[in-house]
């Protein structure tokens, strides 16, 4: 099957009209920056500390442990300094009567849209770090196991209220969401 453009039956929008996706309307809560920083320190930072301790205590390992230690330290620095700023600048979300739209990512950006007619559950989830900062994650799941949308770093009250409102909308939508 050799591709021989122009393709018959191609129902994509016409090629001469340039399409552009606008970013979702709302930013996440500014406190999310602190949450991302803490998360980076808790994961990459912890690994760096462990490697560092081994490097310091176990002298024969130093020749081959120096490179991993430097890499881990650089990765931690990037996660702690760059990641929160970039994520705060990028992350956006929006929910309409018809769909939930999220833009996430740091090194890999992802635009995700899920129609409310296919949504199965809407939850406001709070991890321990999020609880400490008064934040919550809005998790919207669909019948597809990989189709969930998570909007992280929302104000806890806002997330709870959103979950309630979106649940009300999905309950009005007929169908079994598959």
């Amino acid at each position: 099957m050799d591709p021989t453009p122009p393709v018959p039956h191609d129902l994509s929008p016409p090629r001469d009209v340039p399409l552009r996706l606008r970013p979702p309307r709302h930013r996440v809560d500014p406190r999310a920056r602190r949450w991302w920083l803490l998360r980076a320190l808790a994961s990459a930072g912890a690994v760096t500390v462990v490697i560092g301790v081994v490097w310091w205590l176990w002298e024969p390992a130093r020749p081959w442990l120096t490179a991993p230690l430097v890499l881990a330290a650089l990765w931690t620095a990037a996660r702690a300094v760059v990641e929160p700023r970039v994520r705060y600048a990028v992350h956006r979300w929006e929910a309409t009567d018809l769909a939930v739209y999220g833009l996430t990512g740091w090194l890999v950006r992802e635009w995700r849209v899920a129609p409310l007619s296919r949504v199965q559950t809407v939850d406001a989830v709070r991890g321990p770090l999020e609880q400490a900062l008064g934040l919550a994650t809005l998790r919207v799941t669909t019948a597809s196991s990989s189709g969930a949308i998570s909007i992280r770093g929302l104000d806890a009250d806002l997330a709870a209220e959103l979950a309630e409102r979106l649940t009300a909308v999905t309950e009005q939508t007929p169908g079994d969401a598959t």
Binding site: L21, T96, R109, E110, V113, G147
Partner: protein, 553 residues
């Protein structure tokens, strides 16, 4: 020993279905310690012939021990006979449990429910609402076939999705199985010929497809299992298989490499024979057909030599097809055909996604087309090739991976963990990786054809998937740093069927958005620049619509 007394409850029932369900019923399936409703319908037993089958099983499972002692003269001691005795005990216990199960199990079909009562000490009632029944399948193992019995699997609601039956009757006579099927699927019981009207056969068994199914990665596993089983059994009879193998060839003169090669060849041959036998046993008499049902049509597969099985897939749950062509075998024209249906786990063994065994591409493509039966036809449609950037990205990754592997190997060689020639392994990897990158790039393709979106990708197995556009739920666009430099984006279509996620990697950025918009009709349009503003459900309280940042606190 006849199935006649069982006919009563099944034959008696044929009425309208009730309206409301018990509140605690999950998909119409209830497991309780009392019957859901008692309208006095008599219970019936499973087929009494099972007792005779169990008796035969007991004798059969003890026969290896008898043969070993009587024919081969194996010393009758625990140490020499334990494997065979264990095998025998396993068989006897299985048969006794089966007989007990027969004694305590009853079933009946009432106006509303199919019910099964079981349990020796604690009585359990399992009932399935008849209006929730989605499938009634029958299977038969060899012992069932020889004795004219059938296992009836009743599938309902989400239970089907979990790959398990809502209710299993193991086993009833063949006549009862057919009658149950007819009654539960609301067809007329006594006119099997009427059911054959409108059956359209899409594919039939071809014995020569065995060549496609002989060699795969599983043949090594098969060979290992067969060889281990043979060794275990033969030593049980007091024979010495290791000695035979040692005497077969002058292993000393072959050297280490020769021994390994001969051994590998032997294992491959044994594995191929095992795979061929397994293919013939499972796929014998295969028939894939579209048959009319009480509500819409079904895709029906019948297959099996020793164990027959019939699987009915509701066409209302069909969301697409996938034709997967493994690398290397692809150039021999080999392909796997599977369907994408909702409410089914990909791993479900009761209703496997594959509708055909591995076979020639010249059959797989027409069958995939016939399964979808769509106009315009998405399966054979020409696909759009992806941008050159996709090739560059793959070449870049191939080079980076080879470099990283070479660097690690060089580092290990410099610290004398590995011999000095080790880095050359990384260097050899490079051209192979580049070749793989080109193959992977050439596999890419996408199109929107009629009601379907078609996606093709994959290095190890080039999978071409045609998915209904209205089945796409979530749509996602991805862009990594490297992809942004190359002007590429990946599109992922999420659905509730099949694998749940189907990817079209590395499409040119503009085309990617256009493709995503077309793949999920109506979903992305409101978020395009210049789209009319819809009413918003949500937003941070107090923030004006259109204000992107609520500001720092």
């Amino acid at each position: 020993m006849t199935g006649e007394p069982d006919a009563g409850p099944v034959g008696a029932v044929r009425t309208a279905l009730p309206a409301e369900a018990p509140a605690d019923a999950v998909d119409g399936v209830v497991e309780a310690d009392h019957p859901v409703a008692d309208d006095g319908t008599p219970w019936s037993r499973l087929a009494p012939r099972m007792i005779a089958v169990d008796l035969a099983r007991t004798l059969l499972s003890l026969s290896p021990t008898a043969v070993a002692v009587g024919v081969f003269g194996v010393e009758a001691s625990w140490s020499s006979l334990w494997p065979l005795l264990a095998l025998g005990a396993f068989g006897v216990v299985g048969a006794v449990l089966d007989a007990v199960r027969w004694a305590v199990t009853r079933y009946r079909v009432t106006d509303e429910y199919v019910e099964r009562r079981s349990g020796l000490l604690v009585r359990r009632y399992r009932s399935v609402r008849r209006d929730r029944i989605r499938s009634v399948d029958t299977t038969a193992r060899l012992r069932h076939r020889l004795s004219g019995l059938r296992v009836v699997l009743v599938g309902a609601g989400q239970q089907v999705a979990a790959g398990e039956s809502a209710l299993t009757l193991d086993a009833v006579s063949r006549r009862d199985a057919e009658r149950l099927r007819a009654v539960l699927l609301d067809r007329v019981a006594d006119s099997p010929s009427a059911a054959d009207d409108g059956v359209r056969v899409l594919a039939r068994f071809r014995p020569w497809w065995v060549v496609y199914n002989m060699v795969s990665i599983w043949s090594f596993v098969t060979a290992a299992g067969l060889l281990w089983g043979a060794y275990w059994l033969l030593t049980g009879f007091g024979l010495d298989p290791v000695g035979w193998v040692e005497a077969m060839l002058p292993w000393d003169r072959l050297g280490r490499v020769g021994t390994v090669l001969v051994g590998l060849l032997l294992v491959l041959v044994v594995g191929a024979v095992g795979m061929a036998a397994s293919y013939l046993a499972t796929s014998w008499g295969l028939e894939l057909a579209r048959v009319p049902g009480e509500a819409g049509t079904h895709l029906r597969t019948r297959q099996g030599l020793l164990t027959t099985r019939e699987v009915n897939r509701d066409d209302r749950r069909l969301r697409g097809v996938t034709v997967s062509e493994p690398v290397l075998w692809r150039w021999m024209g080999m392909a796997d055909t599977s369907v994408i249906t909702t409410g089914l786990s990909v791993w479900a063994s009761s209703q496997p996604a594959a509708v055909l065994p591995r076979g020639p591409a010249s059959v797989a493509w027409p069958v995939a087309r016939a399964v979808l039966d769509a106009d315009p036809d998405p399966v054979g449609a020409p696909l759009v090739r992806h941008a050159r950037g996709a090739l560059r990205r793959r070449l870049w990754w191939a080079t980076a991976t080879s470099l990283a592997v070479t660097a690690v190997l060089a580092w290990l060689a410099s610290t004398e963990v590995l011999p000095a020639w080790a880095p050359w392994g990384g260097a050899v990897l490079w051209p192979v990786a580049l070749l793989a990158a080109v193959v992977a790039y050439r596999a890419l393709g996408h199109a929107v054809v009629g009601d379907y979106v078609v996606l093709r990708s994959g290095l190890a197995a080039r999978a071409t998937t045609a998915l209904r556009r209205d089945a796409v739920s979530t749509i996602a666009l991805r862009e990594s740093l490297l992809q942004r430099r190359l002007g590429l984006r990946s599109v992922a279509a999420m659905t509730s069927a099949g694998w749940g996620r189907y990817d079209a990697p590395d499409i040119a950025a503009d085309e990617a958005l256009r493709f995503a918009v077309a793949a999920a009709p109506g979903l992305l349009e409101p978020f395009l620049v210049g789209a009319p503003e819809g009413p918003g459900v949500s937003g941070p309280r107090g923030a004006a619509p259109g204000d992107p940042s609520p500001g720092a606190r």
